[in-house]
């Protein structure tokens, strides 16, 4: 599949994962997802921390019994030699308070570096997952650095070094990391962000408040995806506000609760659609 065309914090936010992990219908998807984490900005100086990076995301429902072997096979396929490296599955229970979701699994370590998240979804948007989806999230920069033997993300070749216009990761992203770090941390207009947050919240609710039956076509059309777009927006706006440092500890919980309420409503709506396993 293709990346989702909105700002998200992780590949999990793509509706192909969040919404499709709900309901009983089998599903399998894989895609690259550009991800934004405003608080992780380091002005492009940290060797492997970025406010904008790429994830490769896999979701399989129901989780196959050999998911670990499949996963290790994928590492072999990109050139990681299992006989030379130390691959470890280290407990990391995944929880997304904003999505009302949790699962059990691991972060996968390659020589001490976290290269993937491996999760068996147990609950999404407040709904128990039946069957359970297996989710694999690969950190693409980290894996590429590994395979290419590069120590700093910015030094990584972005295209073929033999290409007449050879570019490094720095050529492509160093400046944007600086620009966004400054904007995220110090400049973004918090009042505007706040207003947008509230708009998205209201829009989500009003989309879902519509009748299930479309008056124009007479069809049953529940708009789970458009509503979920607003949830994604609210979530990213919250992350920006957080990076600006204007959210206190107590407020934080309240904001997370508000986003979660949207995610839950969207999940409730999705399971009432055909893709969500609803049978009329």
């Amino acid at each position: 599949m293709q990346p989702y065309d909105m700002e998200v914090g992780a590949g999990t936010f793509h509706p192909a994962t969040t919404l499709r992990s709900l309901g009983s219908r089998p599903w399998a998807a894989a895609y690259v997802q550009p991800s934004r984490r405003p608080t992780d900005g380091r002005y492009g100086e940290n060797p492997n921390r970025l406010q904008h990076y790429y994830q490769y995301q896999v979701l399989i429902k129901p989780s196959p019994p050999d998911l670990q072997e499949l996963y290790l096979g994928s590492l072999e396929a990109i050139g990681i030699d299992m006989a030379l490296h130390d691959i470890r599955f280290v407990e990391d229970d995944w929880e997304s308070p904003t999505l009302g979701a949790w699962g059990l699994g691991w972060e996968v370590w390659c020589d001490g570096m976290e290269v993937s998240q491996f999760t068996y979804f147990q609950q999404v948007g407040g709904h128990d997952c039946h069957p359970v989806s297996g989710e694999l999230t690969y950190g693409l920069e980290r894996l590429a650095m590994y395979v290419l033997g590069v120590d700093h993300v910015m030094e990584m070749p972005f295209n073929d070094p033999q290409n007449p216009i050879a570019l490094t990761y720095a050529d492509v992203f160093k400046q944007t990391e600086e620009e966004y770090a400054r904007w995220n941390f110090d400049v973004a207009d918090t009042e505007v962000l706040l207003r947008h947050f509230e708009d998205a919240e209201a829009a989500c609710a009003s989309i879902l408040a519509q009748e299930a039956t479309d008056p124009k076509t007479g069809k049953r059309i529940i708009m789970a995806h458009p509503a979920y777009d607003q949830c994604i927006k609210a979530s990213h706006l919250f992350n920006l506000l957080d990076a600006r440092g204007v959210i206190s500890v107590t407020e934080r919980q309240a904001y997370i609760g508000r986003v979660r309420a949207l995610a839950k409503k969207c999940a409730d709506a999705f399971v009432m659609t055909e893709a969500g396993g609803f049978k009329a």
Binding site: P62, A83, D86, M113, V132
Partner: protein, 686 residues
Amino acid sequence: MPDLLIELFSEEIPARMQARAAEDLKTKITNGLVEAGLTYSGAAGFSTPRRLTLTVHDLPEESPLVREERKGPRVDAPEKAIEGFLRGTGLNRDQLSIRDEKKSQVYFATLETPSRPAAQIVSAVVENVVRNFPWPKSMRWGSGPLRWVRPLHSIVCLLSDESGAKIVDLDIDGLQAGDSTCGHRFMDPKRFSVSSFEDYTAKLKRSFVILDASERAEAIWQDASNQAFALGLELVEDRGLLAEVAGLVEWPVVLLGRIEDQFLDLPPEVLQASMKEHQKFFSLRNPKTGRIEYFATVANIETADQGATILSGNQKVLAARLADAKFFWENDLRIAKSKGLTPWTDSLENVTFHNKLGSLKQRVDRIAGLAMNIAPFVGAEADLAAQAAQVAKADLASEMVYEFPELQGLMGRYYASAVGLPDAVAQAAQAHYSPLGPSDSVPSEPVSVAVALADKLDMLTGFWSIGEKPTGSKDPFALRRSALGVIRLMLENGITLPLKKAFALSESKIDVSDLLGFFHDRLKVFLRDQGLRHDIIDACISLEGNDDLLLVVKRAKALSEFLASEDGKNLVQGFKRANNILTQAEEKDGVEYSYGADVKFAQSDEERGLFAALEAQSQVITSALKQEDFAKAMQGMAALRAPVDTFFEAVQVNTDNEVVRRNRLNLLSLIRSTCRAVADLTKIEG
């Protein structure tokens, strides 16, 4: 007699759950076997990241036949009663026997639990245990209903003896027990069959799996120590980390790496926290420089390049982590040095401490006010104490503490020093959290003591004022720990600051006697752990001045010694006798005998002797108490023992002569009041 071998093979079990799970497997299975009538001679549980294993020795071939006789109703009992008995036993009337008992005929049922083969019992017990295993967190996977800590893949369940091994017939949601398992995930993943526990452990080892976690931990520790020694370094001990790491590997391989020079100037605690928290690395100290200069990481695999690739990968990750820590450290220092700690203390305004108790900034202000008032009692300069309290929690707003919350206080000390605040202030930033528990050390530097006391008293009076008191096992704000902290601070520093006065220094409106009672309960627990009897503490707490903890404890210790002596034990008996007679008389007469004893109504030498002793000793006691010399006061009581004893041997208190009787009762009350000045002996047991 057969041995039982069980292996539950799954995807990676969280390290922190493994030891407990191995233990649970052992108890649950063996309990189940015993309940079903199978005895055994020994059992042991083991865990690795991917398996839980249990071996049980010497099970019988089958459970014994059990016969139980149950007595029923009389033969002529109502039909309903007989039917009920039949239902309860599951028998029909022909199967009952009838016996004569006490001139009537009574039904008896003989119930038999038939003998069952061990394999059948094992199968049922294992299935039940797997389905109801007490994992702290468990999950489902795929489409099945089974729950386990992570997907469960195979089960070995074997009964083996000299004649061979037999697979126990067991099927849990399609997962069938067998006799095969596999080795190390990468070094030797092939499946192999096993025939007994010995065969199993030997084959595992050949396949690069050490079954026993303690053996793995020992191997890690030995290997890391030896390698450190070879480089002239010391391995920093960390038992918790060792146990965790032993739970992350089946085949431990220790690799030592050097920390890049550019990070060696980070505070050692930051290095350690960063390496431990994120990478599970051990720290290695260079004894010559006192710095942490190397790390030890534990891999799960032997490689053709002797771990070179793995080590360099780990070094890179560490460099990135430390670059982050350095970024926080330098950013924090830049802010602190250019603007002081004020931006941080101000930003605590935005952090809610508790919705009824305001922001963290408000709490800090309260602590500062308290610390200033407490200062004179602990020998600290008031202004310095207030200043220290104001900055003590500044580091909570720093980036480093945001990233590593466990470094709170410590970073505060570094930052306070960096901005040139006095040593005592910087020290207090770290020390004011102490003592954190019964074994944590207690600060002694006066400014630290003042802030530490203020910090805890604000917690207690604050939460008391909004009615958030600990109940039963619930103590979400760790108020018991705070009270214990106050107690230890006062006792170990010899601080005289009566609690009522201390409470009054805070602005919170509280039920003083309730909070004082809470302190007394904590004090009892604390002193009991030091071997002081609770009744002795009670005897001291029920007196005036009981809010002065130092006084209470001094008194209690003296009393404890006194009661251990012969004089002490006898005096208490004499006192109780006096008190009993007095109480009975007071109840009977409806008056209180409290004064007016006059030696001129004394009729015997013993009586006069007691008068004289009381007069002399009460003076001794009064002056001793004034000087808080409790040992001397106890000596005064000890001197009363002989006269009191002789008095009771020779004198009958209740005589017909009312005047004499009343005089003697008043004399007894003099014993009571004299002793009572020292301790409330009515509380002493036995």
